[in-house]
C-alpha cells in the first residue's frame, strides 16, 4: 500500500489525466489502474475535478457554431437531413422565384416588342399620308402662285393698255384695208413724245398669216418706209403689242412679208394703211 500511496503522490496520475506522459508511462499507469482500485478512483477524482474546473472556466461559443458543428457531424454520418431547416426553405424559395420572374419578364418583353412594332407601322402609315398631303399642298401652293403670277402679269398688262388709252400723248391711227384686203383693220397707237408705237391686237382684223409669212409694220417718214417690226395675226391674239420706236411718222402701213421681215416693203402686198 505504501508503494501505491507513493505512486499516487508522485504526481504521475495528474500528468496522465492531463495527457502529459510518455507512451511507456501511459501503459504503466493503465496497468496500475487495472490492478489497484485506489489508483483508478484517484484518476477518476482528478479527471472529475479538472472537468469541473473546465466547466468553471467555460466560454460559450457563438450560437451559429452549433449548426455548423452538428451539420459537419451529420455529413460524416452520411445522413441527408440537416439540423437547420431555414437553409432549405431559402433554397426552395429561390427555386420558385427565379422561373416566375423570368417568365414575367419574357412575356413583358414580348408584348413590349409587339407594341413597338405596331407603333412603328402606324407611324409609317401616318408619315406616308402626311407626306402625301404635304405634296398636295405644295402642288396647290405652286399652282396658286403661278396663277397669281398670271393674274399679276395680266393686270399689269391691262394697266399698260389702259395707260395707252389714257395717255394724251398717244395718237390713235386707224389703218384701213387696201383693195387687196378691204376688210382688214388695225389700230396703231403712237406717242411721238415717248417714241412708242403699239398695235392693238384685240381689235385687229387681219387675215391669218401662214407660217412662211409675217406681217410687217412700216412707218412712212418723209415718204420713205421705216421698219417697225413684224407680228403674227391669228384669232386668239389679244392685247397691245409694242413695236419698234420712232420719233416721227406721216403714215403707217402693214405689208405681208416673208417670215422675219424684209428691208423694204413689198408694195403689192400692202394690207392696211393709215395716215394722219
Amino acid at each position: 500500500m505504501e508503494d501505491i500511496k507513493a505512486y499516487i503522490e508522485s504526481g504521475i496520475l495528474e500528468l496522465y489525466v492531463l495527457g502529459d506522459v510518455t507512451p511507456e508511462e501511459r501503459t504503466q499507469v493503465e496497468a496500475m489502474a487495472q490492478k489497484h482500485p485506489a489508483i483508478k478512483a484517484e484518476l477518476e477524482e482528478i479527471g472529475r475535478s479538472l472537468e469541473l474546473y473546465a466547466e468553471e472556466n467555460a466560454v460559450e461559443p457563438s450560437e451559429n457554431l452549433r449548426n455548423r458543428v452538428l451539420n459537419s457531424l451529420v455529413v460524416n454520418l452520411g445522413d441527408d437531413r440537416t439540423f437547420s431547416s431555414t437553409r432549405t426553405a431559402d433554397e426552395e424559395e429561390d427555386n420558385v422565384i427565379i422561373p416566375i420572374s423570368r417568365a414575367r419578364s419574357n412575356t413583358f418583353f414580348k408584348y413590349a416588342f409587339a407594341a413597338c412594332l405596331a407603333l412603328l407601322l402606324v407611324s409609317i402609315v401616318a408619315l406616308i399620308s402626311v407626306y402625301n398631303k404635304l405634296q398636295e399642298s405644295n402642288n396647290l401652293v405652286a399652282s396658286l402662285q403661278s396663277q397669281n403670277q398670271r393674274f399679276a402679269n395680266q393686270t399689269s398688262l391691262m394697266d399698260k393698255e389702259l395707260g395707252v388709252f389714257h395717255d394724251a400723248s398717244f395718237k390713235m391711227v386707224k389703218l384701213q384695208g387696201t383693195p387687196k384686203s378691204p376688210s382688214s383693220k388695225l389700230t396703231v397707237a403712237w406717242s411721238p413724245v415717248k417714241k412708242k408705237v403699239m398695235i392693238d391686237m384685240t381689235n385687229a382684223s387681219m387675215p391669218v398669216n401662214d407660217k412662211d409669212h409675217q406681217y410687217q409694220l412700216w412707218a412712212m417718214v418723209n415718204g420713205k418706209p421705216v421698219d417697225l417690226g413684224v407680228f403674227d395675226a391669228d384669232t386668239t391674239s389679244t392685247g397691245m403689242k409694242e413695236m419698234k420706236s420712232i420719233a416721227s411718222a406721216d403714215a403707217f402701213a402693214v405689208t405681208l412679208e416673208r417670215r422675219g421681215g424684209s428691208p423694204t416693203p413689198t408694195m403689192d402686198q400692202m394690207m392696211v394703211i393709215g395716215k394722219f
Binding site: 484518476l43 479538472l50 466560454v59
Partner: protein
C-alpha cells in the same frame, strides 16, 4: 439557442448513444461540452475564430474516432479535452499560426480572455473567485500553464524556472485543492 432547448444526458446514456451514432447523441454532446471545451481551446489559441474551427474539428474527431474510447480508460471529458488540447496545441505550434501571432505573455492572455468573457459565465463568477482564492498563485499559474496553455510540465519548469519535481508537486497540490473545492 436557449438554455431550455439544450439536451442533457447522463454520461452513461451519452456514451451509449454515441456508440450507436444517434443524432441526439451529437446534439447532447455539443450542448453538454461545447462551452467547457471552447473555454480550454480559446485560452490556448487566444483567437475566437480559430478556436471555433478547432472546436468543430474536435467534435468531428470525437464523433469519428469514438470507437477508440472506452469507459475503462477514464472519464469521457478527460478523453475529449485531451483531443481538444492536442488539436489546439498542434495549431499554435504550426508555422502559419506562429507567423500571425508572435509570442505574447501567457498569463496576461488568460486574464485578458477572462475579462473579455466574464459576462458569459456571470452566474459562476462568484464560485471562480472563491476557487481562485483557494488556489495559491504558484498553483494556479502552473495549472493554467499546463491545462489552459498546453505546456508540458517540462516546458512549464523551463518557463517558471523551477525544478521538475517542484512542478509536479505544485500541479498535484493545485488539483488536490480543486478536488477539495468541488467536493
Amino acid at each position: 439557442m436557449s438554455k431550455k432547448r439544450k439536451i442533457s444526458l447522463s454520461e452513461e446514456e451519452l456514451v451509449l448513444a454515441l456508440q450507436r451514432r444517434e443524432k441526439i447523441a451529437a446534439e447532447a454532446l455539443y450542448d453538454m461540452y461545447s462551452a467547457s471545451l471552447f473555454g480550454v481551446i480559446v485560452r490556448i489559441v487566444n483567437d475566437e475564430a480559430i478556436a471555433e474551427d478547432i472546436l468543430q474539428d474536435t467534435f468531428v474527431k470525437i464523433w469519428n474516432s469514438f470507437s477508440s474510447y472506452s469507459t475503462e480508460k477514464g472519464r469521457l471529458f478527460t478523453w475529449m479535452v485531451n483531443i481538444a488540447r492536442n488539436l489546439a496545441i498542434d495549431k499554435i505550434r504550426s508555422k502559419d499560426f506562429k507567423n500571425q501571432t508572435k509570442n505574447q505573455e501567457l498569463e496576461n492572455n488568460v486574464t485578458f480572455i477572462d475579462e473579455q468573457r466574464n459576462t458569459v459565465y456571470k452566474p459562476e463568477l462568484l464560485g471562480v473567485k472563491d476557487l481562485v482564492e483557494k488556489l495559491k498563485p504558484e498553483q494556479k499559474s502552473i495549472l493554467d500553464l499546463v491545462y489552459f496553455k498546453g505546456y508540458t510540465h517540462v516546458e512549464a519548469a523551463d518557463e517558471l524556472g523551477v525544478p521538475l519535481g517542484t512542478i509536479k508537486t505544485r500541479l498535484r497540490m493545485a488539483i488536490t485543492q480543486l478536488r477539495k473545492y468541488f467536493n
